[in-house]
């Protein structure tokens, strides 16, 4: 399995990109699973905010909350959506419950096709929460059929983040519950967020249940609501164990900046070199060596030779 050719996007959540080895893979289905009050919608809002900052096209489909309520919630946590989006009222679309089936089976695929023809570079799609859709299709067989179709359309369009409500009894959570089984099974990445309601550092945590094509970090990591980013995940335990150059090494960051600049160059040769360098930098297996290689590859002498 080659993990180096995957292009990733930032989730906008502090710490989550570290756990996912650089962020979410483009054009994948990512699920945030958690019971009520764990912070699923906050994650979704931070994700859309990051998209707005990066100039991505965004499509936020809310199946419960009104757009004004969601934006007010985001603003209260310091996620300044209003500041970065001029048409923030059109940013979030409320899908009424009686129209869910029609929307998901007819309107959404048509919308996906329309956006595809518009040549939109990349779209961040948010389904928040997916649970009412699952209720419309009680049998797992039907859920699988409908979701597979929806995911095919959406993942061809952009990177999907969906929130899934998890059944919660007496403060306990159940990731394997029937209600969450199908979306978990079909998702590329599943992030489980929990709140035991007992206080302390490990009361509210985040765990990567699965992430295809990613050597993600294992275990549970403390999580808390943070002013500005909405939610922050404490990854200090892994930051000490592994000095991951992908995130911490200033040299890596400098090179990445250089490579990004090169990828916009008029010269197609330089753009090819930039792509190779980007792929090399995304490979975390032999991080140290790869940084040296990219450094040499993007050196002015080599670029001069290529130009000749």
């Amino acid at each position: 399995m080659n993990m180096s050719i995957t292009e990733r996007i930032s989730s906008g959540i502090e710490g989550l990109d570290i756990l996912l080895q650089g962020g979410m893979i483009k054009n994948t289905i990512n699920s945030i699973v958690g019971s009520s009050g764990t912070g699923k919608t906050t994650v979704a809002l931070a994700y859309i905010y990051q998209g707005l900052l990066e100039g991505d096209h965004t499509l936020y489909l809310s199946f419960e909350e009104t757009p004004s309520k969601l934006i007010a919630g985001a603003e209260s946590l310091g996620i300044r959506i209003k500041e970065v989006s001029q048409n923030f009222t059109e940013l979030i679309h409320l899908v009424e419950s009686e129209k869910i089936v029609e929307f998901m089976t007819n309107i959404l695929p048509a919308l996906a096709q329309k956006l595809k023809h518009k040549n939109v570079r990349h779209t961040r799609i948010i389904l928040d929460p997916l649970t009412p859709i699952l209720w419309e299709f009680p049998s797992e067989k039907e859920q699988r059929k409908v979701l597979t179709k929806i995911y095919q359309h959406l993942s061809s369009l952009g990177t999907v983040l969906q929130t899934v409500e998890e059944p919660n009894a007496f403060g306990q959570t159940d990731i394997g519950a029937i209600e969450t089984r199908v979306p978990i099974y079909l998702s590329d990445t599943v992030v489980h967020i929990q709140n035991l309601g007992l206080g302390g550092k490990y009361n509210r945590t985040c765990k990567i249940v699965k992430s295809r094509r990613t050597a993600h970090h294992e275990g549970i990591f403390p999580m808390h609501f943070a002013q500005g980013s909405g939610i922050a995940i404490d990854t200090s335990s892994i930051q000490v164990e592994y000095n991951d150059p992908l995130v911490y090494d200033t040299r890596y960051n400098e090179l990445m900046k250089k490579v990004k600049q090169m990828s916009k160059d008029k010269d197609p040769k330089k753009r090819i070199i930039a792509q190779i360098a980007k792929n090399l930098l995304n490979d975390r297996q032999e991080k140290g060596d790869k940084i040296e290689l990219v450094d040499a590859l993007t050196s002015p002498q080599i670029l001069q030779e290529v130009k000749k």
């Binding site: 306990q172 929990q194 035991l196 007992l198 302390g200 550092k201 490990y202 275990g219 200090s236 000490v240």
Partner: protein, 119 residues
């Protein structure tokens, strides 16, 4: 020093004690927060760890209900000592059957207190 590193160093200290095979910090729902193992551990210990993971929720509920600070089990040629760290976490020390339980109990309690300052 980060909190995560503080916890791992406390767990590593524990496994340096004679007869201690593993030290695991569990959250009460069975999730592992941090762990340390003797370099050459036997395969038998894996079965015991699996048992700990499956039962930590039940044990912690029992400890909470009866206000117990520590509980000891003997199974699969190991003794397992559960010690409450805080509301959410529980320290589990796995040692061989021949371990000095009194000494182990004192040391586990001391480590629980030290770890609780990081949480």
């Amino acid at each position: 020093m980060s909190d995560g590193f503080g916890i791992s160093s406390e767990l590593s200290d524990l496994i340096h004690l004679d007869d201690v095979e593993a030290a695991i910090l569990f959250r009460i729902d069975g999730n592992v927060i941090n762990s340390a193992f003797k370099e050459q551990h036997s395969n038998d210990i894996l079965r015991t760890i699996q048992w700990c993971k499956a039962n930590v929720e039940k044990v912690s509920l029992e400890m909470k209900t009866n206000n117990l600070a520590k509980v000891t089990y003997e199974l699969n040629n190991f003794c397992v000592l559960f010690s409450v760290v805080n509301n959410v976490t529980i320290l589990t020390t796995l040692a061989t059957k021949t371990a000095n339980l009194s000494l182990l109990s004192i040391e586990t309690k001391r480590k629980s207190m030290l770890i609780s300052t990081s949480l």
